[in-house]
Symmetry: C2
Subunit: 421 residues, 2 copies
Amino acid sequence: MISVEEALRRILERAPRLPAETVGLGAARGRVLREDVFADRDLPPFHRSAVDGYAVRAACLAGGGRLRVVDQIPAGTMPKVRLGPGEAAAIMTGAPLPEGADAAIMVEDTVRDGDFVVWPAPGRTPPAVEPGNRVTARGAEVLRGAKLLEAGVRVSPAAVGLLATVGKVRVEVARRPRIAVFSTGDELRHPRTARPRPAEIRDANSHLIAARCRALGLPVRRLGFAADDPDHLAATVASGLVADVLFISGGVSMGRYDYVEPVLERAGVRLLVTAVAIRPGKPFVFGITGDAPPVLVFGLPGNPVSALTTFEVFARPALDAMQGVADARPPRPSVRLLAPVRGSGPRRAFLPARVGVAEDGTLTARPIRSQGSGDIAAVALANALVIVPEDTEAIPAGASVEAQPLPGFPDAGAGWHDPRR
Amino acid sequence: MISVEEALRRILERAPRLPAETVGLGAARGRVLREDVFADRDLPPFHRSAVDGYAVRAACLAGGGRLRVVDQIPAGTMPKVRLGPGEAAAIMTGAPLPEGADAAIMVEDTVRDGDFVVWPAPGRTPPAVEPGNRVTARGAEVLRGAKLLEAGVRVSPAAVGLLATVGKVRVEVARRPRIAVFSTGDELRHPRTARPRPAEIRDANSHLIAARCRALGLPVRRLGFAADDPDHLAATVASGLVADVLFISGGVSMGRYDYVEPVLERAGVRLLVTAVAIRPGKPFVFGITGDAPPVLVFGLPGNPVSALTTFEVFARPALDAMQGVADARPPRPSVRLLAPVRGSGPRRAFLPARVGVAEDGTLTARPIRSQGSGDIAAVALANALVIVPEDTEAIPAGASVEAQPLPGFPDAGAGWHDPRR
């Protein structure tokens, strides 16, 4: 058995960095940048009024004043009139200051009197007007040529807005890994099977893993499930190896392993990880094809909790690394246990839990009652995996442990209840 | 001015609960359940071997034993042979135990000797075999009829697996709110404009808000941008009101408000929120049409930071509530400040920040250097908004504050650096 860290090291060492591709602005969200993004102009590109009101010379309003309004400045055009002493221009939020002006005053602080504006309005006591008052100077936010985003970051929705602002309507991002997934097992039936026979169960894992990959924004081909038959398995493996990453669920525990291994070997897959000190998930295996770049093959355990756990711990960092994410380690914030948990001897344990926010703002974790690695009802309720280190007998309620976030992390409150009770 | 809480209360009070619709398994992820989900059978549906090895009667192995192997049990079929005393059946992980058996033993702990299996293997000292050993009893994980998922929860990837397991291939979920979004302003140009004139800026907000809604899984129609012209604005508003929620960015500060208000009024929109004690975001407005159910209209400020902030604080909870999410409040975990922040007098302040995980597991927040509410470069780097309460002058580094997560929350480490420096 090797440690979780050693297994992850071997996997990340082999994860190929996928090439870049160019996408349009509408497809950039969630993708990983493969180029730095720079400002093509100063932002704001002009001295910008931060208020609706009047552009003025601050010096003309020392102790109050009455200014002639000589222009009205709409957004979108540069003012043509230069302000002289004793003059003002009506201006809107976001519009450019005219030459000669060095400040803006708020319309609420003024009274209009025909062609003149009076500041301050009777009964108002605004602070003195200084040069720069209510104005964002040209380039104050961003100077032309400045680096704004770096290769290796995932494009947030606000970053889409930034790309739009600097005119970056085509952007270099990592190609996304193409995923193929199937389950194995003679006992499996399609979920639409209304009445499985007593020894049959419906296939969950290919749907679970496909949904997880789609939540990560990745294109997935679901190949359904393969029977415990070498020819059928070989054909399914072959069709899966056209992807960048193949997930096979089940068929990797000892009894079946004997016949999955030769099938993978004949398909040119070399196994680099075969026994990890993790619970659940010990039957996890990882291999690569001889192609350049290699196809990554993850043999996930047939138990759904094990499948999800090994996906999160081993596959998700690899999928990020393939896209060039600068730091592919998953975050592992501390959470306070609301109930005790037990360890798994020499194996690192990952336990489904519901993480929320207590009244005092701390993250709390309620371990989800689980009947073991087959209990998909438990993991379906989880928004985190609580980590119990190797060789830890038990951790009491109230203690802090690391947790790896899942979708839905964290809840707003700490009052989550288990619908099964 | 009204408080953030009061504004949110008014908005949630008017957010209509959208009807349910039925979707297939492949479309269920991320949707909000509108029905409870129950188990249609026991899980596991049979006494299930947890190991590859042999099904046995525990009593026959007291102190070790040699058993005749009378059957081999593949997954997917019920065993036909009943075990008698002194007998065993080869069995694979996940296969049903035969009648007469009450435990399973691991193949690693045995030696095969022709038709017989010997336990323990020489040199192995496994624990004594008790009834139930390495077996998951029928119904141990889930009893038929048990409630597994409740209406009001968002379907996680693992929950997709659970739906598959219980044969729930068509499921009732909330219809998603249909979104329309446009920006206003004569100064706006399309992002593809290679060289905007000095007074022009590229439209960021309609792209930012559309990307944010898509990240929430919502269908968005982007209507581009409207000029500062009542007829053009009226036509754009009219086409936006066929959606469930309309976002208008810009045109809601005092100078322009005078002409946006009559356009909205003529379109039948009644404003219920017009001045909130929030920074950035004071020009935010909210209204509803007279339809039943009403269309929600969010007038977001034209500044991108203000637009994102008011979206997160006011619109996101409303979008969740429309789908019937049980608790639409956003989570607000405590984070430790890595630098001091300043408040905004009587207004609640939301500051873009990068939240990561320190060595000791605590969440840390690095406030992002920002030149104010127009600084889209700052908010593009944020994965959280740090909250400074009303009437708070300043909060020192090292203190804990609440933060509202954004996409990408949290980073794995605390070592984030600003690419602009």
